[in-house]
Assembly symmetry: C2
Homo-oligomer: 138 residues x 2
DNA sequence: CGGTATCCCTTTTGATACTG
DNA sequence: CAGTATCAAAAGGGATACCG
């Protein structure tokens, strides 16, 4: 790749008509990083303890190498995750939360915890909603 | 549309090779709804007060009608948002949080608040990261 | 092992036009 | 006003191959 993206490690798209990405308030961007599909899970797992790359991959499950790499790099760039690459063979890289990352992860965990606690209520609401819909359609 | 989607108000894609969507644990789904790009913003705004559809649209800014509709319907189905459609002409629809939605919104607001407070630290981390990268590339 | 580079399909999002 | 329908663009995400 010629020019440094410097924005996010998304490698593919070389062309983008307009870069909404960085032009939106930067605060929204961080929020999207920590609430991203894999960001949420990575932060919560790392709250438990440090993890190696493939250990994290196994724990989260069904995440591709590419997405995990991308997620970790984004979080590292935001200063939430610390990457510790040991110069050994075979390579060993440990990921852990920074102090900043721990704060973020705790917020995220709060949300995740609330979700699992209230899951039952949500499912009941969904059933009621679907029943109302089915009813109104005859 | 022939068959009822009943899953999510995503209208377009009639075909999907495999439905990962609903096969993942339902808890993850709720989490994705409340942390979704527009879900976060809708919940936070509604925490302030009830809003009408287009009022919400203007307040959030740069959200398409389609996405706002979709987001609101998803949150309504999950029992987080209450939709009050008055049978008047022109139509008037007010959206507000349910008790469950208020709890969710408070969690989300906590995260958003943290993000805006720590934004400075994140930006410093990014600069440091980019500098390290630029440096290591010569 | 821990990545990076590509290719290509899927899902999401937005613009636009239209309806009750 | 508050949506729905449709289409095209963009982003997300996975499979594979390869490198240090």
């Amino acid at each position: 790749m010629a020019v440094s993206p410097a924005v996010s490690p998304v490698a593919d798209a070389a062309t983008s008509k307009y870069d909404i990405g960085e032009s939106m308030c930067p605060y929204r961007l961080v929020l999207e990083h920590v609430t991203s599909r894999w960001g949420v899970l990575v932060l919560i797992e790392l709250l438990e303890r440090p993890y190696r790359f493939s250990e994290l991959r196994r724990t989260i499950g069904r995440v591709s190498e590419k997405m995990l790499t991308q997620t970790l790099q984004t979080l590292e760039r935001d200063g939430l995750v610390h990457r510790d690459a040991k110069p050994v063979i075979p390579p060993r890289v440990d990921y852990s939360l920074t102090d900043l990352g721990r704060e973020a992860a705790e917020q995220v965990r709060g949300l995740a915890l609330w979700t699992s606690e209230r899951m039952g209520d949500v499912e009941k609401a969904r059933e009621a909603y679907d029943a109302r819909k089915a009813d109104s359609r005859g």
